[in-house]
């Protein structure tokens, strides 16, 4: 039983806005399955008393003072933008995904 199905790979590809062909789906599903199975061996070692790790460094409460620091200027901010208009980033129209 593979740890990731072809449908799941298709779903993830859609979420990531990747155009993947049918052939590629077969290929990637197989490859991802191998990767996931390898990573899953970690789970064999972890027992109930070992919590999942999200951060490798044992630090908490790293805060910044609420003090304003210089921002980029508008020109600089837009310097790398493929398109700009009226001081704003210009993007293609957005279809069917009103947030």
């Amino acid at each position: 039983m593979p740890s990731i199905s072809r449908d799941e790979v298709a779903h993830l590809a859609r979420l990531a806005r990747l155009a993947v062909t049918d052939d590629e789906l077969d290929l990637f599903a197989g490859q991802l399955d191998v990767i996931l199975q390898s990573v899953a061996t970690v789970g064999d070692i972890a027992t109930a008393d070992i919590p999942p790790t999200s951060h490798a460094v044992p630090l908490t409460n790293v805060f910044r003072e609420d003090v304003v620091r210089p921002s980029l200027g508008q020109q600089q901010a837009l310097a790398g933008a493929p398109a700009a208009e009226d001081g704003r980033f210009r993007v293609p129209r957005i279809l069917g995904e009103e947030a």
């Binding site: 910044r64 304003v68 837009l78 208009e85 993007v91 129209r93 995904e97 009103e98």
Partner: protein, 500 residues
């Protein structure tokens, strides 16, 4: 999307269904800087001038948490009677939408900083409803999109969109209620009262500007109906773009009547996001949630966990100010208000204004009579909040002082206030410009009285004969001559003195 919805009569809705609400309120904190970078947190400004590599999501940039924002989040949680997490993390909410240049929003997922609270909400007639709070979590606001080429400025039909990221990364607290059931026909009112109470609380905490018109307080209203006698929640819709307290009430009421009509016709309510239209008071279909959102949340690797010590939490509890309901109780006692008087004061949204007017020297009764009795009508007539009328507590206090010193009559005082509301400047300037001072100069008054007596010798004779009632005609003439700016009683006394 332009189909006209069938609506059920509200009374029938209540007869047949029980509404269930869920309210999500987003509040922008008014910290100096953004949530994860040192850019200024300011409303408006030239587009893309409060941005840096971090809030633009440029490669290699790293976020650092604003400590002040965490403090505010904890204080909000405490004021909402929540438990404060001993340990919690930020999470990435992944989605592709240009309002977030990072392609994810930094939020909290299953570990909110505050949870399990409640807020007591007072309805217009004094009934108290306890609204349970599911959670309050920290996140960041998104940028602002401008859709170009669409007929209405909305996304449909737009040719392209323009993005301003000044708001991207502004600290945001999302406060989510547990399902609010059992409020029946009062559900729309409960929704408005809840957001009002929350706004007052956040204002007292001094953590946000809480301006619904500017978007620093935003409410999404989830509404569903269940047929009377059943207990399973129906399919809900989530209405966005609800930008005023009144709209919260209208949006909930509209959704109740719309969903009831759908259900009564044997249809199914579609789970979707709906958009509230202020001008029509109706909601329209937005994005259909046919595919359940898949945000692939995972713990934010670039931010370490937050573990507020119990000492810190208690220290912050100590900084909580007098909260609105405590303040109301104190004010009621100090000003000797009846329950009904207090309710009128609160419902008018005038507590702060009256208190500030009292601080500026007026008595509570004088201040209340202006704000609650007079200015509320003016605000309603103009469709604005009391605080947006354009007159300050200090100005009202000065008008009151002018009345008390005899320089203005009540009638003239109203004209002065009308002038201030019309933008004619300070009360004193209006008095000057409109020539509204009471004529108290005795010689000027005596002259006017003498002229009036001379003009009506027969009336003067009657008064001299002791027929004091006849003086009314002379008083009228004097008031007319002084354009109503004399004190009528004083004029009358003067006439009688001149004729004896």
């Amino acid at each position: 999307m332009t189909s006209v919805d069938e609506l059920m009569d509200y009374a029938e809705v209540i007869e047949r269904f029980d509404p269930v609400l869920g309210l999500e309120v987003h509040v922008e904190l008014h910290t100096n800087t953004k949530m994860f970078c040192g850019c200024a947190n300011l409303f408006g400004g030239e587009p893309n001038t409060h941005v840096c590599p971090t809030c633009l999501g440029l490669p290699g940039s790293l976020p650092v948490v604003n400590g002040k924002a965490v403090e505010s989040a904890i204080r909000i949680g405490l004021a909402l009677n929540c438990e404060i997490a001993e340990w919690c993390r930020f999470a990435r909410k992944n989605y592709f939408y240009p309002d977030m240049p990072k392609n994810f929003q930094t939020s909290q997922y299953d570990e909110p900083i505050a949870f399990n609270g409640w807020l007591d909400v007072t309805l217009d007639d004094g009934e108290v409803v306890r609204v349970e709070i599911e959670r309050a979590h920290m996140e960041e606001d998104t940028g602002k999109s401008l859709h170009v080429g669409g007929a209405t400025g909305r996304i449909h039909g737009a040719e392209h969109s323009l993005l301003d990221y000044n708001r991207a990364g502004v600290p945001l607290i999302e406060i989510v209620t547990k399902p609010i059931a059992g409020t029946g026909e009062r559900a729309p009112e409960v929704a408005r009262a809840y957001v009002t109470a929350l706004r007052d609380l956040l204002k007292a905490l001094d953590v946000s500007d809480v301006r619904m018109d500017q978007g620093s307080l935003r409410c999404d209203a989830n509404v569903s109906l269940m047929p009377k006698g059943t207990t399973e929640f129906g399919t809900r819709t989530e209405t966005k773009n609800v930008n005023s307290l009144r709209s919260v009430e209208r949006a909930v009421r509209f959704e109740m009547t719309r969903q009831a009509a759908v259900l009564a016709a044997g249809g199914k309510v579609v789970q979707e996001t709906r958009h509230f239209d202020e001008s029509t008071g109706s909601t329209s279909s937005g994005r259909t949630k046919e595919t359940a959102e898949d945000y692939r949340y995972f713990p934010e690797p670039d931010l370490v966990p937050i573990a507020p010590s119990r000492e810190w939490v208690e220290e912050l509890r100590g900084t909580l100010p007098e909260l609105p309901w405590e303040r109301r109780k104190r004010i009621q006692q100090e000003w000797s208000l009846t329950d009904a008087e207090l309710r009128d004061l609160v419902n008018a949204g005038a507590v702060d204004l009256v208190a500030a007017t009292v601080d500026a020297g007026a008595t509570p009764a004088e201040a209340r009579s202006w704000w609650v009795a007079y200015l509320t009508k003016e605000a309603n007539a103009r469709g604005v909040e009391l605080g947006e009328l354009g007159i300050t507590p200090a100005q009202i206090a000065r008008v009151v002082a002018l009345v008390n010193s005899g320089e203005l009559t009540n009638k003239l005082a109203r004209e002065v206030v009308t002038g201030v509301l019309a933008g004619e400047g300070e009360p004193e300037a209006v008095v000057e410009a409109r020539g509204l001072k009471v004529v108290s100069d005795d010689s000027a008054l005596e002259k006017a009285v003498d002229e009036a007596l001379a003009a009506q010798p027969d009336v003067a004779a009657k008064i001299r004969d002791g027929k004091v009632a006849a003086a009314g005609a002379i008083v009228g003439a004097v008031m007319k001559a002084t354009k109503g700016q004399a004190d009528a009683k004083k004029v009358r006394d003067l006439i009688i003195a001149r004729c004896s």
